[in-house]
């Protein structure tokens, strides 16, 4: 069997093995190992398996992952989200649909500290939905917006997706963080427009709530200031090159830790819970990266990524059509296996083609971020919808109907970013110069 045929066969087997319910990382490592042993030899394959495990886990670059996850978990477990939600409520809660808008504003601010999609969705499902229920909001709107806002963490720094993408394709995490800010805020704005438009069409879905006095509004301002300070320290430090991503993650985590402890919202139980949850999440991510690294080394021997890149570039279509196809593959792949796992698996294969087509790697990272945002709220693996369903018990059909308008706005934003790449690349190019 030639190397390419071996590689293609291995990829088909891998997909079949995925369906058995095995841990994806274990399957990737096992198939990568067997393929490498078949093509190169048993002893080098043993060496590869162990060396990749060792190198992945001792990589300084990857130490950023548990830190930013921990930062988010502490913020999530220490009621910081609740305070932000209440603060945002005072400012926009009285507008028709204001509580749903409050959810968007609160989640956007919270995202500046928490890169975890599931943590944000779960946190806001617990805070925002009961509040919206209290004011008689339609379940479609309340559950739909909570399932959708969780996705904002894919773009707004410190996004775990962008960190992993940056490490996989060896791009600056600071640049990616900066690139995610404008599209992330744009999507938040789109969500607010959708709520406004929806409530205009059907005012019954979101009855108004009482208006806070100016004094009350000013009193909650420190909630936002703390977030702004932590965000500026983390992103500013990274951008200016004062901190490495690992150092920025540590600074952010310690800042959130101190903030929560100063407010007496962080007991030992909460701290241990945060450590435990972040270790599990970071372990899940890095074990996936190890599995894909072993598989990637095997695929490199088969030349498949390079052949795929040449083939994709040589397709008789305009490059934008090819790019749309690549994005659709991410969407489709992410619909059947976990979106993040698919990104880790597929990026080393498609990235060379994307670069060969002349696309900006930073822009591509943001475009993939939005694609994953779409992926986590569409069936069959709509993880954010699953979280909302588990917490609220609202039927899937109702949540999906609520998600639909926000999904359309996400697609609209993806299209805008596709047509105007500067939306993502302007900020990093302005602050850090062109690469």
């Amino acid at each position: 069997m030639s190397e390419v045929v071996t590689g293609v066969t291995a990829l088909f087997i891998l997909i079949l093995v995925f369906l058995t319910g095995i841990e994806l990382a274990f399957a990737m490592a096992a198939i990568g190992f067997i393929g490498f042993a078949y093509l190169v030899g048993f002893a080098p394959a043993c060496n590869l398996l162990v060396k990749d495990f060792f190198d992945t886990f001792t990589s300084y670059g990857f130490t950023v992952v548990p830190l930013f996850v921990l930062m988010g978990q502490i913020a999530s477990n220490a009621d910081i989200a609740k305070r932000l939600y209440r603060g945002a409520h005072k400012w926009v809660g009285h507008i028709p649909g204001g509580l749903a808008m409050t959810t968007v504003v609160g989640a956007t601010l919270f995202k500046a500290m928490c890169g975890s999609t599931l943590a944000t969705t779960a946190t806001f499902a617990g805070i925002a939905i009961p509040e919206m229920d209290r004011y008689g909001y339609d379940k479609k709107l309340s559950t739909g917006i909570v399932a959708s806002v969780g996705t904002l963490g894919m773009l707004i720094p410190p996004s775990i997706v962008l960190i992993i993408y940056g490490i996989v394709v060896e791009q600056s995490i600071g640049r990616l963080f900066l690139a995610g800010i404008v599209p992330g805020l744009l999507i938040s704005l789109f969500f607010i427009f959708v709520i406004y438009g929806w409530v205009k069409i059907d005012p019954a879905i979101a009855p108004g709530s009482e208006k806070a006095s100016l004094r009350e509004r000013i009193r909650v301002l420190p909630e936002f200031i703390w977030v702004a300070l932590i965000f500026t320290a983390v992103i500013g430090g990274l951008m200016s090159g004062v901190f490495s991503p690992t150092e920025a993650g540590t600074i952010g985590t310690i800042a959130v830790l101190v903030l929560a402890a100063a407010r007496r919202e962080l007991g030992w139980k909460t701290l241990i819970k945060s450590f435990d949850e972040s270790l599990r999440t970071a372990c899940m991510v890095l074990v996936l990266i190890w599995g894909s690294t072993v598989l990637g080394h095997f695929l490199a021997i088969t030349q498949i990524p390079f052949i795929a890149a040449d083939w994709v570039v040589g397709l008789p279509f305009a490059r934008w059509i090819i790019m749309i196809l690549v994005i659709l593959i991410y969407l489709l792949g992410g619909s059947f296996i976990d979106d993040l796992a698919f990104m880790i698996l597929a990026t080393p294969i498609f990235y060379p083609a994307v670069v060969k087509l002349g696309y900006d790697p930073i822009w591509f990272g943001i475009q993939i971020g939005i694609t994953i945002m779409i992926g986590v709220i569409i069936p069959p693996v709509a993880i954010c919808v699953f979280v909302v369903k588990n917490i609220t018990g609202v039927p899937f059909g109702v949540i999906y109907r609520g998600v639909l308008p926000f999904l359309l706005s996400l697609i609209g934003c993806a299209a805008l970013l596709f047509l105007f790449p500067d939306i993502a690349t302007f900020l990093p190019n302005f602050f850090m110069g062109k690469p």
Binding site: L19, T20, G21, L49, P66, E247, T253, M284
Partner: protein, 161 residues
């Protein structure tokens, strides 16, 4: 069987605690390095210490993550199987994982022995690499045990979470 599952669970928790201590240590070293760097006296070999902590953090968290089913799986097809079919699939997948990690553990021991022979150490602090490989080997063996426990649970239907 219950006793065995309880022992594995306790070991997993112990490794998770070590991983947590590793995470706290890594944060401590990083913040100390930033502070001392600002004072013109950075910690020599801070990056090595952080990297080695990374191995402890993630390597030691693997077994407990498996116990808690934190790893990503595709379950939409097996969810449609009968309870017996599900158990058979779980048995097979756990067995594959068990063999894989047993194999990695053994190879880590061999790798560690090679590192002792060659006397390989880190560039800055001259820390030998082999304790890390032996630590990771231990974690791989525990992961195998955890998967074996999962295998027993799949066949016996016992729960211990």
């Amino acid at each position: 069987m219950k006793k065995f599952l309880a022992v594995v669970y306790k070991l997993d928790i112990t490794f998770q605690v070590v991983a947590g201590i590793g995470l706290a240590f890594m944060m401590g070293v990083t913040i100390a390095d930033i502070t001392l760097r600002a004072l013109g006296r950075p910690i020599v070999g801070a990056i090595e210490l952080i990297s080695f902590s990374g191995a402890v953090i993630i390597g030691f968290a693997v077994p407990y993550s498996s116990w808690m089913r934190a790893h990503v799986i595709v379950d939409f097809l097996i969810e449609r199987l009968s309870p017996t079919g599900k158990r058979i699939m779980e048995f097979i997948t756990k067995l594959i994982g068990l063999i894989l990690f047993l194999f990695i553990g053994v190879n880590f021991i061999l790798y560690g022995l090679t590192l002792i022979k060659t006397g390989e150490v880190s560039a800055g602090l001259r820390i030998p690499y082999y304790p890390i490989t032996f630590g990771l080997a231990l974690s791989c063996f525990l992961e195998s045990l955890t998967l074996f426990a999962g295998l027993l649970k799949a066949t016996g239907g016992s729960q211990h979470e």
